[in-house]
């Protein structure tokens, strides 16, 4: 499932590892989320959205 996590993370100039540490996940998990290979829980999505300063819609609404 595609999302805008990677684009938003790069715009904020933070690495996967940094984002992972801040949201309480591993770098691997962030990588899988960005690839669309893992469907995170609502809790993790909210944590990522807060960290990146975006809404859930902006990050995770289906991208064409």
């Amino acid at each position: 499932m595609k999302n805008n996590v990677k684009k938003s993370r790069i715009n904020k100039d933070i690495t996967q590892e940094q984002l992972a540490k801040r949201v309480g996940a591993t770098r691997q998990t962030i990588g899988l989320i960005e690839k669309g290979e893992y469907n995170p829980s609502l809790h993790l999505r909210v944590a990522i959205a807060k960290e990146l300063g975006k809404t859930l819609d902006e990050l995770f609404w289906e991208v064409e």
Binding site: Q16, E17, A25, R27, Q28, T29
Partner: protein, 210 residues
Amino acid sequence: MKSWISVLLPDDEYKEKKMMQFLSEGAVLLFISLIGTLVVSNFIVLDTETILFLHIALFAVYVLGRYIVSGIEFTDIVTEQEYRKERRVIIVKSAGFTAIFILLYSAINGFPADIWGWLNIGGVSVLAGVFMFPDQLHFPETFLQKEQGFDINNKTNRPGKVAFLTSSGYYLSLIFSHHLNQELSIQWLTMNLIDLIDGDNTIKAMIPDS
């Protein structure tokens, strides 16, 4: 997740999910094998200790194997440089563990006098070393160049802390079991397996001093 099992699970939700999956699969396999053993026990006399050990081993090996193959142990290794560095560390640790194991085991049990003694030391040491040695269970990895941080997760699969703990656990149980005169040796395992399958003592007749 509010459960006592959470104590055994990692904090990261992806890892937690995968571990739950592996433990569940292991539990189902264990359940099926126990039912199979229950049915078979009506026709064949089975040694309780051996069967219990085999079932425990089935669960442990399955879960450990799935964990190793999944590649969730080393989540931060992406570039080839980091992989080589980690591999070097694991090789040194594996070799060190194997050497210390052989020395301590010989110190406690004495140096082996026969083939079974060497198998006991060598087999377990090599097995422990193999479980800890990364390339023995090497699977294809994908690396991407670093660009503003890591781009994609690495699918490196290697035995790590779990394998070390498993090997250490077995090593410790060997030490303690020796003191209790119930040695979990390769010879003991082999003879019990032979007992299990060799109903008319055909195989045992071929083994000297069995």
